[in-house]
Symmetry: C2
């Protein structure tokens, strides 16, 4: 094996030890050591170099039907990330290649990767792009922001666009794309620092701090003609406030509902869905998977915008395999400042 890995080496993993009730905690995970997998014909072995964390991963820990199968108890948690090929029985992958895809909370991943590339599998990534950029604005959150804003939200120049979770990995890219497309952009985020970043670095028009202000009142002030496009990451009372301020024909791109992800009991939805009739508005749920044909163009546009400084981004890079669970938890306490990554 080119990089000198030995099959006698150990593969440390963080397993799902129990299904959380309510807020996730470190005790929901358990450390295990297993042998580094032997690879069979057509299979590839990769060493996990980076992991990326998203709030939606919280849902994978629950035993209920969702857009992916839940993680089984006793199996390693999953996370998107980058791996470096260390051994390959597949001519499509050579040692040293770096691939992006769904990893696990492990030091090594293996399998028949070519069989997966058609759908949601591993794709080789360029070596001349910084890793933080690849996993940040050019990663799945950035790509989701791109298709969610442009293909689902469909803003026109001059539209008023509101983004919740606007300082987050997805929301910040969505908000800046709307700005690039000539829209008036209002971001909703928690705390003065995030709002300052939105105004000064992301250069959107207005920032609403939901922790210190009445979101409904601030929406009425900042969107007097109503909200044409709403990029929704949060749900709860924020969604309700925006529904009361829609413009005629408004489009809501429903990307996430993070405010409810740690609830043991599902919380009630908005009381004012009737506003969808009053405003002849729509809500469309979205996942990146349905837009895979758009990824090459999205990747190229985002790379150009980020390189030109038109899209600002922040990554919060933690270090070390042992810190995987506590890094994941940062998403739910708001401790992360930018896209949450971890380098192994």
């Amino acid at each position: 094996m080119a990089t000198g890995e030995s099959s006698a080496a150990r593969n440390r993993q963080w397993l799902l030890a129990r299904r959380p009730s309510g807020m996730v905690s470190e005790a929901d995970f358990e450390l295990a050591e297993r042998p580094v997998p032997e690879i069979g014909p057509g299979e590839v072995l990769g060493r996990v170099r980076w992991l990326s964390f998203e709030p939606a991963m919280r849902g994978w820990m629950d035993d209920r039907e969702s857009y992916v199968a839940p993680v089984e108890l006793g199996e390693p948690m999953r996370a998107p990330g980058l791996a470096e090929v260390v051994a390959s029985n597949d001519p499509a992958y050579a040692p040293g290649d770096v691939v992006f895809g769904m990893m696990s909370w492990s030091e090594y991943v293996s399998g028949g990767w070519s069989a997966r590339t058609a759908g949601r599998g591993y794709r080789r990534v360029p070596t001349d792009v910084p890793r933080e950029m690849l996993l940040g604005p050019l990663g799945s959150t950035g790509l989701t922001a791109y298709v969610g804003m442009l293909d689902v939200g469909r803003p026109e120049p001059g539209d008023t666009v509101v983004v919740s979770g606007a300082a987050g990995a997805t929301g910040s890219v969505a908000a800046q794309i709307a700005r690039i497309k000539g829209c008036r952009v209002v971001g909703i985020a928690g705390g003065a620092a995030k709002c300052r970043w939105l105004l000064e670095e992301a250069r959107i028009d207005e920032a609403i701090d939901y922790k210190s202000s009445d979101v409904g009142r601030r929406l009425r002030e900042t969107c007097p003609d109503g909200v044409d496009v709403y990029f929704e990451n949060v749900g709860g009372s924020t969604l309700e406030a925006v529904l009361d301020n829609l413009a005629l024909g408004a489009r809501i791109a429903l990307c996430g509902l993070i405010s409810g992800y740690n609830d043991a009991e599902a919380q009630p939805g908005p009381r004012n869905l009737f506003q969808l009739i009053v405003r002849r508005a729509s809500i469309q749920g979205l996942l990146l998977w349905d837009f895979l044909d758009r990824v090459p163009e999205a990747f190229a546009d985002l790379r150009r915008w980020v390189t030109a400084g038109e899209i600002a981004y922040r990554v919060d890079v933690q270090e070390g395999f042992e810190n995987i669970p506590c890094t994941f938890l940062r998403l739910f306490t708001g401790a992360n400042e930018g896209k949450q990554l971890l380098r192994l």
Copy 2:
């Protein structure tokens, strides 16, 4: 005046006496007598012959922003209906013409009708179509069902289509249009009689009686591959049950949310909006006004289907000006059997 009306005649009206808190009651209305209006240049006087009642009218009684201005206290309530022209200073209308449009709970209506025809005004109706058909499946509820099902729901042959309020004026037409278009149709309605009518007369595939069965369980049984199109009239727990049973890419045409119309306090929305992401589904609010260019084709299709017996319909015709308020209330007790009309 051709029909012998005298300007000394009295015009009885039912006024909105107070804004209901919660369930509407007869005491919310008050009888008044006013002179029959004198008409000025370009104006027309019509005698109201038929009124038509819809659950959404309940919302017009509340003093809050909606898709139409609220009825003012002390002003007559509104309702769509038919009037016969009795005097006209507008060459576009002759005595004896029958027009469809937004009437009031009055014996006479007057005004500059030509100015209103462009938008939501009065249109002359054919004399060779039964009045009950004109105000039933060919009226605004039938036309709404047509555009809501075909333009918003967009069912494909073989799709599983669910309709709530399926025995109602709008739902019953929506369900039968889906059947005509080759879909498997499941209707949700309250009570054995309505369900029997759906199966035997409307000839849809399944009927779920929400009063006597677990809607969620029955949806899982009758829609094992999920719901492709949902035509929503009801909201509340019914919406929640359908959201849990959506097929990938499902479309929800949001026509009404009648379950909440009489609530003094707005009720919470569905707890499972996340299913819109899981299923990449959409909710689109709709009003007929946005589809006025579709009305001629819709009217022609519906007339052909009704005449050929492909669309069954029921009208519940009450009689007499004095019975207007109690007739309106029938909508909220489920007493009406079919489209609620009243002949003056």
